[in-house]
Amino acid sequence: MIPEDLDILTLLIAIVTASACALPGVFLVLRRMTLMSDAISHAILPGIVLAFFLTHSVSSPLLILAATATGVLTVIFVELLQKTKLVKEDAAIGLTFPALFSIGVILISQYTSNIHLDMDAVLLGKLEFASFNILKIFGYDLGPVSLYVMGGMLVLNIAFILLFYKELKLVTFDASLAATLGFTPVLIHYGLMTLVSMTTVGAFDAVGSILVVALIAGPAATAYLMTDSLTRMLILSVVIGCVNAVVGYLLAVPLDVPIAGTIATVTFLVFGLVFMIVPNRGLIAIARRHIRQKWEFAQTMLIIHLLNHEGLPEAQAESEIAHLYEHLQWEPTFATRVVKHALNNRYVSQQATQLMLTERGRTIARQTLVQ
């Protein structure tokens, strides 16, 4: 069994990884480039394999460097393909990363006998074992390597966003204005892409190439549902990322399943929950608004109908409740409910079977007609 203190370390790695991924994710979601992280996370495979052949270690800094370079190369490839104007962006991404990934798989298969870089770990990562890979300097035990790598990435991401906040914001929301003002969008773009590559490579070891996309896209997309402010979206997505990581971890341990898998599952569930209940934009809010609008519209129809015939000879006939069924083509049950709503709102008053406009109802009907 895993000792108690290592458990906390694993959890800490999960939280730090989630936070580090959530930050660049915000800009990817806003810039509609989320799938670039998917492409990068697959395409870095040949870089990792080649660097592994050179260094024979899975945790050397050269590995991270080589993989990051491959990631940036992927972005360049995709953009070059797009620039030919022969291939659209989505197809360019869909062409580039499978090809690079294929090269990686072939390389691995050729040398699979003498290395321990197995495909399972590539796609799924091994968060469970991340805390066993201890950084030792002069024999001192300094804690897990992953924690340092992802901690470093977190600090780097925060620093980049703080330093270039204004530029990032401008490039994200109005790239052409940014260009005319003299902030080179290309520079910011590649800076961001390098960060995404580095974060992906760093997280790769812990969560693998596919689930890193959940860490990048999930919290940012969830936060995007909740706020209109960039600052708040950044903070929210880090918080959501951390919540996903903690809940995922707590679910995975008793079930004894891959932690990265449960974190991804929780990410989807949290997104779904927010999608349901978020005020104004959530599914429930949308449904309620639809219902309210339906009744409001029906009531407006009713008072305009009454206003049209008010004071005319046929008014008596037209304001019979029973007449509404035929004139407005309403079902009797529907008409009864509309009348009830209108009575509650004091738009109309009822005398026997006759409906009369109140002063309030008359004003509203007139206003609506003028509009």
Binding site: L28, V29, R32, T34, L35, S37, D38, H42, L81, T84, L86, V87, K88, E89, D90, A91, I93, G94, L95, P98, A99, F101, S102, I103, V105, I106, S109, Q110, M119, L123, L124, I210, L211, V212, V213, A214, I216, A217, G218, A220, A221, Y224, L225, A252, L255, D256, V257, P258, A260, G261, T262, I263, A264, T265, T267, F268, F271, F275, R281, L283
Partner: protein, 320 residues
Amino acid sequence: MEHFYFLTRFDYTLMIVTSGAALLGTVSGALGTYAVLRRQSLLGDVISHAALPGIAIAFLLTGSKTPLLLVLGAAIAGWLGALIILSIVRLTRIKYDSAFGLVLSTFFGFGMVLLSLIQRSGNANQAGLDDFIFGQAATILKRDVLTIGILGGIALIIMLIFWKELKLLIFDEGFAASIGLPIRALDILLTSLLVIAIVIGLQAVGAVLMSAMLVAPAVAARQWTDRLNLMVILAACFGAFAGVSGTIISSPIRIPTGPTIILCATVMVGISIAFAPNRGLLWNSIKQRRNRRSLKIATGSLIGATAAKNRMKENDTRRS
């Protein structure tokens, strides 16, 4: 000599694998055309990953590895994923890319959780479920080829039946809606056809590489023609060719078949982009150079003409 031997004795297993890959390439090439033209190339990537929990649940429920059952599970999950994406995009301000990324990774993660539960349950039958992630083209059996052929054939026939409607959907959705075509239903139909094309290929080339089988042949075909019917036929041929050549190249030198097929398809894209008439890079640069030259001649003669005119004017003024 060895190569010669290999070519003459085209052995049975290789023949099965090759025909499976060829069928797969044909179906995914033809249907991928629609995904690429609608700018939803990455839908393949999403569906193939989202299919994983479906495969796991199908196995958990039935305990069998019958291809048809697993394909059905994969199809349901992939279809559900695609449907969730459509509704996220329709109901929120989240765009396709984020919805794709979210569904792809989280469905896959859930599938991994289920697979690890299956693996721990100690069911001896579970070996080989992993193939759906990485693909194992070399283990294609005759019954797999049958599944691919029948389901793929059905998908292609449906595509032909709704040819006109689908064509309208991808090129002018607004017009299609205005003449009363059921856009949402057609959208779901097209997505379902793509789901079929993807899930039948999962075991052969794997989730990660299946998306390329959908994209690459179509992109290559796009370079050679502007007509939909030609593009679909070309993409199907390119897909089949990639399947066959990838299998034949990978078999004697013992490298994984799936990735080799993808690389073959990628090479075909490269050749098409470089050399296709009218659109290709080479053609374009020649055209550009010719345009520049004719522009130079035109401007040259223009300058000459203006100069001559000025001279005449000068002469006129001098004379008067």
